[in-house]
Symmetry: C2
Subunit: 474 residues, 2 copies
């Protein structure tokens, strides 16, 4: 039964999205303009994301820390490109403790300046390097639109900031962390993603270059999902971060930063969910299995508990919904909340020695013998769902991936249906600008593993330098 | 060998404290006035605190969420006592996106207002209650002094905010969460604490009453370590948080809030640490055992790895320090960082089939046979250290606990040595004020389990109502 609170995805995608967010109680608007409240169901997904990414970061030698929320204006102004990039969208604290401040402070939009300031006083020798710091925190950018998880003034993220003794090491780090994001999206979130490099125009303010992970939503709109920046010595020069190298000479450090945000929750929704509510890939689902007893006879409740305990003992996150609601209500609730597997245990079914498994992704029901190896069967089913979700997302993505050889192609595609558009490009910003004139289509990335390109620019027709991927973005 | 970077605790306690914070690389001052950087060693302790408390909160049915960082002035002003309590110490955002804002926003000093605003639109029926929300976040109060972990403008904390259908349930929650803090300090942080109630003067702005957990530092100065507030329907009235009760009548919810902060890291230092650096109770130590190979022969390295793996397999957090530093340097580093147990494996010792265990708390060295059951022995040793640290802290606390029967007693004690002073009190604020005139001595709490008191007020000599605990505070 379709959820009445949710507009059909194919009728109004934007409305469908906010309906799902609301119906699944992931987040809500607040009285604070531009800021959302992340509700427990949404925050649990973020906690799961943090758990998996944090473990990976630490395995790779990173440590967590916490830098201040506020940045003095003077400190921010030291790196020109960064200021120009962020100044228009920061919030300023001008009063504190009932007094007007002499020097105003901005709420961090990102923390390169603070990490540089810290590193400048704490790194001395090549023996102190690399320093591989990360922080999980909130940041603020003065956005003018608000869409839960996709765009809000305050959002949560992690920002890794590392410094290294050599260019090579720092570039390797930049690439490695992009690899982590790519792995996370493909393997954990079941979101097939493209790994590439941002153009000069689209790169992070102050970076030498930016690597990016790009995903395509169900409606063909692209979403940047994780970026990793290489700064070379740019920030180090601006903030005076030097070290004594192996030859006993003073040198500037080589730096990187990389981040992912609560936007990933938005991506999860827009890639996988449907008209019945949230659909979560099992590997990121805070609760993987709900067991719904139908009736409350001892036999039913006993089997429900037995299943739950066996699953929990094997690291499958299961719970019994023994609330006083009707089975139909519980089914709908599990569905809207995106619990990957539902096990229904009914008295009558037990007389026939069967129980029912329901897949959230396909909404398929499967009857199984009550004596089934519950752990193995459930684990296999969860893995099948994970794989199937990835494959379906990939098929959809591939169906919305196009090739354009000239501006006419570009226009036709964008007028029909947005998606990823592969098109060769000469590398000139002028052509990039012209492409943007078509419905705001931007370069998502240029592919990193470019073979020698024997083609012409989609825009000017001159010899192409890059294999670009283009699209409309969130 | 005494750490040269650390002033002796008995010579200058305040200097000793900041020296330990710096030497153990727990935190440092920044260019942002009033704000500190929590460095990886310090943040790892916070992560461990979060892990243990968060697990406990969830076992008790709480869920995490995230409310906005900013509070519009209008929203804050709805509850008069709260505004009066916090307005002088908030920071105001008055510019955003390059424009002056019509309505200024404060950075949250605490989030009662935001939770009330959320609950007001999300709770409808008694079936929605209780709502047991918590958030881990940063808050900001415009302090004028800065001491790492003890006092800074921004700090990290958790704030639980719950709403209930009855007074009884809400009061039970207030008491339960104080129980969690008390358990956490005594059992995990090895800090013996007093559980009591704040006086009317010292309670949280807007609360009906505040429960508190009070700890005593090595120097006899008291530290508030966890508070739990009962609001009754006060905030609910101000923010219009109503629900339909079982009798189908509209009623205001009953509310609580409770919080602990990164201050607990300061308490850990000031209760347990010494002139050699940090000393951590094993249950909160991010790393519990360091194995130091002396020399790098296969035999030594093999045993080091074997020990490490066995310990890790049994949930004891061990690591091998195989860096290229000298053994003496490694010992000192483990010591300043407060690793509870150090295992030294030397080639010569191995010829005699022995290894050495060093306790961080007592700095005692113990020689053991190489064939010892490493897991059992280490686990027992860690538990012994935990218990011994608690007992030592308790003895110290008890030695610094005094009784006063009149103002003369009070003055004598406070002139000699600060500590916890037990003194009966009539309950009048006038007497409380007079006591404060002696070196700023404040009521820490009044004991909750008061028998009928057959005594007179320490100040006015009239009949006493409360058993008070008094002290100088951080």
């Amino acid at each position: 039964m379709k959820n009445k609170a949710i507009t059909s995805r194919d009728v109004d995608f934007a409305k469908w999205y906010t309906d799902v967010v609301k119906a699944a109680r992931l987040a809500d608007y607040t009285s604070v303009k531009g800021c959302i409240a992340i509700e427990p169901n949404g925050y649990a997904i973020w906690e799961k994301m943090q758990e998996i990414l944090d473990k990976k970061f630490k395995e790779l030698g990173h440590v967590n820390c916490q830098m201040p929320l506020l940045i003095p204006e003077k400190l921010l102004r030291k790196e020109q490109e960064l200021v120009e990039g962020f100044a228009p969208e920061v919030a300023w604290v001008t009063e504190g403790g009932s007094k007007k401040l002499d020097d105003k402070l901005c709420i961090r939009p990102t923390s390169e300046t603070l990490f540089c300031d810290y590193y400048a006083t704490h790194v001395k020798s090549h023996r102190d390097l690399p320093m591989l710091y990360n922080q999980w925190c909130n940041v603020l950018r003065w956005e003018h639109e608000t869409r839960p998880f996709l765009r809000s003034r305050e959002f949560l993220w992690q920002e890794g900031h590392t410094i290294h003794a050599t260019e090579e090491e720092a570039e390797k780090e930049t690439d490695q962390m992009m690899g982590v994001y790519h792995w996370f999206h493909n393997e954990i979130l079941a979101i097939p993603s493209i790994r590439g490099k941002k153009t000069e125009k689209e790169k992070f303010a102050g970076a030498e270059y930016t690597l990016t992970n790009e995903a395509l939503m169900y409606n063909g709109v692209a979403l940047q999902a994780g970026t990793s920046h290489y700064f070379g010595q740019k920030f180090a020069r601006a903030y005076g971060v030097t070290f004594t190298n192996k030859d006993n000479k003073e040198e500037y450090v080589y730096q990187t930063s990389w981040g992912t945000t609560t936007r990933m929750i938005g991506a999860l929704i827009m890639v996988h969910s449907d008209d019945y509510g949230l659909v979560l890939p099992p590997r990121i689902a805070p609760r993987q299995v709900v067991i719904v007893p139908i009736g409350d006879s001892d036999k039913v409740m006993h089997l429900a508990d037995e299943y739950k305990n066996k699953l929990l003992d094997n690291n499958i996150i299961a719970y019994v919904d023994d609330s006083k609601k009707s089975p139909g209500f519980k089914f709908a609730e599990a569905e809207v909340n995106g619990i990957p597997v539902r096990i229904e245990i009914g008295e009558r079914d037990l007389e026939n020695d069967v129980v029912t498994f329901a897949r959230r992704d396909t909404r398929e029901k499967i009857t199984q013998s009550v004596t089934i190896d519950i752990v193995k069967y459930t684990r296999d089913l969860l893995e099948t769902i994970q794989k199937d979700m990835y494959e379906r997302a990939k098929t959809r993505r591939d169906n919305l991936t196009f090739e354009a050889h000239n501006m006419n192609d570009m226009e036709k595609i964008l007028n029909r249906q947005p998606g990823f558009i592969h098109a060769m490009w000469c590398g000139d910003e002028e052509c990039e600008e012209k492409i943007k004139e078509i419905k705001g289509c931007k370069s998502r990335c240029i592919l990193e593993d470019e073979e020698a390109i024997d083609d012409v620019c989609v825009c000017c027709g001159k010899s192409a330098k890059h294999h670009g991927v283009w699209g409309i973005q969130y």
